[in-house]
């Protein structure tokens, strides 16, 4: 079948886990929608303007990350003389995002170039009619369609921005119209109008405008990227925009898969310590106090080195470079998870200590309900808000942790593009004169937007779910 498709789907470990996570989230959403008391606080999130705007931004990041998680290996052109059935696939793995971004990944210059530049950043000696001259050479791809870059550049850029804006506007309106249509085919247009014109307090109104703004931005960047390197190129001439888009998946994987590790450990140990108390509590407390006193970076560095040694001694276990990098990423998630469950466990222990003394738990004990059933029926549902809040709160911390670890050199595989590796390779160029600033700036801005959106969303979730934060009326 794959021969027929012309490519072979490849499932990396992290792809599979991300997929699992998406399915789990969808199931939870379905469960919440069916239970009024669970849905009520989320409706409060839906009323929060900052929360919904940041959720929209996060959705865009998540879409990019998911597109980048659908991997395949393209079919290689058949060699002459090969038998008819023999199909060979590329060693390089590509993702759906790579496919969509074509030919961005392969438009590699020789070295640095500034954002939207038509010439390289460094002078080189070039042969010309009048002998050897040292000048800034034209880029191979950036602005290659211009015959005279000096005169045409400004007009071309403005024309592309205008075209991209219009395209983006049209796409954004189409998306909104589709959404309005899904809400109810009748009066879809008037609903769309209400969304756009509604008063400023309405969260839907803000989301609608966020969608429009993002599509305009996306449209402009997309049209520019067809002729230029929007954020410039790095040392080996690779497009920075492409690197940033690829970094998003790494950040999302770190931020979400790590919680798959922390969650079971934190929830089980935290609740067990709080509910059973006694020696179980003592053991668990000693465990997390000890773990907390070991410097996290040291533990992570040691674990990552061990993985590296394992990978070096078992080269046969990995078919492609991407698989190697993915294995290291997965292991990084694991070790980050093992070092970061303590906060959640401590929170849950405290809450469980309080809940187990509550009268409905005692009433269940008086009915002879088993401890496992009490935990499942009375404790877990009542600490769910803490778990959710700490999940979204931890996400941004983990994204930042990845950047720091990769910068230090114990993070993801050097061949894997991430915010951390981008910052790491850009740091030396900061000392150059003139400065190569764009790689660092682009990584910083995109990571900042991602983390800010995650933090704002986490705030909105906490406000809605935490029973201690009361909604204050307007006096």
């Amino acid at each position: 079948m794959s021969a027929f498709l012309g490519f072979k789907p490849a499932l990396l470990w992290t792809d599979a886990l991300l997929l699992l996570l998406v399915v789990a989230v969808l199931l939870v959403v379905r469960h919440i929608r069916r239970h009024e008391h669970l849905a009520a606080p989320w409706r409060k999130v839906a009323l929060s303007r900052a929360g919904m705007v940041s959720a929209t931004v996060l959705m865009v990041f998540a879409t990019i990350g998911l597109l980048d998680s659908m991997h395949y290996r393209p079919e290689l052109p058949r060699e002459p003389g090969a038998p008819a059935g023999a199909v060979r696939y590329a060693v390089e793995m590509r993702s759906l995002l790579d496919h969509l971004l074509d030919p961005l990944p392969v438009q590699v210059e020789t070295s640095y170039s500034a954002p939207l530049a038509t010439q390289a950043f460094n002078k080189t000696s070039m042969e010309s009619d009048s002998g050897t001259v040292r000048d800034y050479p034209r880029l191979k791809f950036g602005g290659a369609h211009l015959s005279d870059s000096n005169t045409q550049w400004a007009t071309d850029i403005s024309a592309r921005v205008l075209r991209g804006t219009l395209w983006g506007l049209a796409t954004g309106l189409a998306i909104l119209l589709f959404a309005a249509f899904v809400r109810g085919p009748a009066q879809a247009l008037s609903r769309l109008f209400r969304w756009l014109v509604g008063n400023g307090d309405d969260a839907v109104h803000c989301v609608a405008w966020t969608v429009l703004a993002l599509s305009v931005l996306g449209g402009a960047v997309a049209t520019l990227a067809q002729g230029y390197h929007v954020f410039g190129t790095d040392k080996v001439g690779q497009d920075v925009l492409y690197q940033i888009l690829k970094s998003i998946r790494t950040a999302l994987v770190i931020g979400t898969l790590t919680t798959l590790v922390t969650l079971p450990i934190g929830v089980v140990l935290g609740i067990a310590a709080g509910y059973f108390r006694g020696w179980i509590d003592d053991v668990i407390q000693y465990l997390y106090t000890t773990l907390n006193s070991i410097p996290g970076v040291l533990l992570i560095a040691a674990a990552v080195l061990m993985t590296q040694v394992f990978m070096d001694t078992h080269p046969e276990a990995f078919e492609t470079v991407t698989e190697r990098a993915d294995f290291r990423l997965l292991f990084l998630c694991l070790i980050l998870g093992i070092t970061s469950w303590t906060g959640l466990a401590r929170l849950l222990r405290g809450e469980t200590l309080k809940l187990r003394e509550l009268e409905y738990v005692q009433a269940a004990q008086a009915f002879g309900v088993s401890s496992a059933a009490i935990i499942g029926r009375h404790i877990v549902p009542n600490v769910m808000h803490i778990i959710l809040i700490s999940l979204v709160m931890d996400f941004s911390g983990l994204v930042l942790a990845e950047a720091v670890l990769s910068y230090v050199g114990v993070g993801v595989d050097p061949s894997m593009i991430s915010f951390g590796t981008m910052i790491n390779s850009a740091r030396l160029e900061m000392a150059r004169e003139p400065m190569v600033w764009w790689a660092l700036a682009a990584a910083f801005v995109v990571m900042f937007v991602l983390v800010l959106a995650a933090n704002l969303f986490a705030d909105a979730v906490r406000d809605a779910l935490d029973p201690r934060t009361r909604v204050r009326g307007v006096a």
């Binding site: 409905y360 005692q362 269940a364 009915f367 002879g368 029926r377 009326g473 006096a475």
Partner: protein, 689 residues
Amino acid sequence: MSDSVLRVSDLDVDLHLGGKRVRAVAGVGLEIRRGETFALLGESGCGKSMTALALMRLLPDVAGIAGGQVRLDDEDILQRPEALMRELRGRRMAMIFQEPMLSLNPVMTIGDQIGEVLTGHLGLSGAAARTRTIELLTAVGIADPQRRIREYPFQLSGGMKQRVMIAMALAGEPELLIADEPTTALDVTIQAQVLDLLRRLQAERGMSLLLITHDLGVVANMAHQVAVMYAGQVVESGSCEQVLQRPRHPYTRLLLTALPEITGSNQQLATIPGQVPPLDGGIAGCRFAPRCAWVRDDCRSRAPVWQGELRDGVRCPHVAELAPLPEQLREPMARPLHVGPPLLQVQDVQVHFPIRAGLLQRQVGAVKAVDGVNLAIAAGQTLALVGESGCGKTTVGKAIVRLNRLTAGDIRYAGQPWASLDGEALRRQRSQVQIVFQDPYASLDPRMRVADILMEGMASLGVGGSSAERLARVDRLLDQVGLPAAARWRYPHEFSGGQRQRIAIARALAVEPKLIVCDEPTSALDVSVQAQILNLLRDLQTELGVAYLLISHNLSVVEYLAHEVAVMYLGRIVEQGEAKAVLKRPQHPYTQALLSAIPRVDVARQPQRIQLNGELPSPADPPTGCHFNPRCAHADRLCRQEYPPVTVADGREVRCHHIVQTGGAYVPAPLKPALGGDDAISKLPQGPA
């Protein structure tokens, strides 16, 4: 009027809750005269605390004064700029709150906190402020004030903190003291001390006191003038005697007949059906009309206007024509039966909680929460366990339901071992003994629906057959406790406190227990709701023959429900016998003091107050000899050395050295005045003329 201190007219307070505007206080008018105690009486949510906060202009952010006047000596203080309000607050009007633990700053000494008020309002500082602080602490009855002014709030007991709060309020020498439920968080004997103190201070200083309370007994014992609030309005106003003896408004009438103390145990308690209407919509007619027993057609359409004077009137046009409520008699309480073995027998039970300290968590002592208790509960009857908080009564209840471990002693159920059961054997027997908790808000899992809550026990203990049969049983249970069958798919937060307590009772009944431990089943509820629950508990006992162990500190509830009473003090039972006999003729000095401390609505029935000194000692370190000796007026050398044995007198068991047993006939022990004269026994000043 020159003798009026505060005159409130047409006061409106709005609450802004999630975009909705709720009128929490609607057109309240009050007049408080110099030197009088004015009680603002109402159930929770009626707007009485909002009114008090509005008088001080201390409303929370979500609330705002929407109209009206508050005249303090002819000046409308609502017109004052906020900056000038500060010189009023604490100086001319002071306030004390319900929770003394939350009202004091935990990181400042008592002396500094009172000194702050003195500096701010009277300009006193240094030695002068210190002298005045000591005077104030002496005035509120704090012993050894020189030492106390250097102490922090955590070093004081609850009653002492409330005294310090009063001293702080008095520091600015206010003309009006507003006390918002000042004794609700305190035990009865401490409540009696604080109320005595307030009464004395008010008489000495000629200060006016605005007392906000839900407790009719406190009103009867304290107030000269009363205003009754319902749903944000004053519905009746008059002298204390007028309102409590000859109530006019239907709400006041029903409220008084809902009290077990007034109605007596041989009658059905009056209940007020329904709930306080939501205040956000426009209410066309009388706010009480949906719950009124005398409602007429015009009540629902026309809002009643105030009839009579500001200080003597009623918000009901029909008061002259109201017929008396018919009395609903119920079967008189049977005498306690002790035929054959009791249903449940508690023998010398001790529950100690270890105190651990040090690196290795070695046990260094124990809190003797229960220290040798004997009880016997007869089938189908009610035994009440009475005592102040911290005396160990809840621990006994939990030990009986097997929720905690006995340190020593034995419990037998129907003659069979009970305390030694464990594992599967215990699980099979768990359905026999169930429990109903105090707080209806904490006793139901907010994430479970009513049917799931009721079926949890049935499923766990295998009662009630198949799931369809169980569901049918849920409907029957809901009907039994007076809830509609539609309630079963709803969540607890959709119910009021009284309804939740009904659900909690239904949950206990679901597994067909023979004994239900009721741990303060009504203390979190309003009087009118309390009456519903008490009626329900008695009906269920008649119908199902279930026995109750009623744990309570409210003696009128005990009087209404219990066949027998056991009085507990510091982990031990000091007096035990037939309810009527114990409550009418208490023998043990502690029972006598406890009974005398409870403020009665019927002031004529108020026994002579016996002042108890100090507070409950720590159960970790009980006094030697009789536990009660440090607070007892009769204590002598023997009491300080030996714990008294059980004496059988007047048909009950008493643990006191001074009870003389004379062949069954009861001879009261001679009452010896305590050292230092007879000020320990203060006579209660009778209600205002």
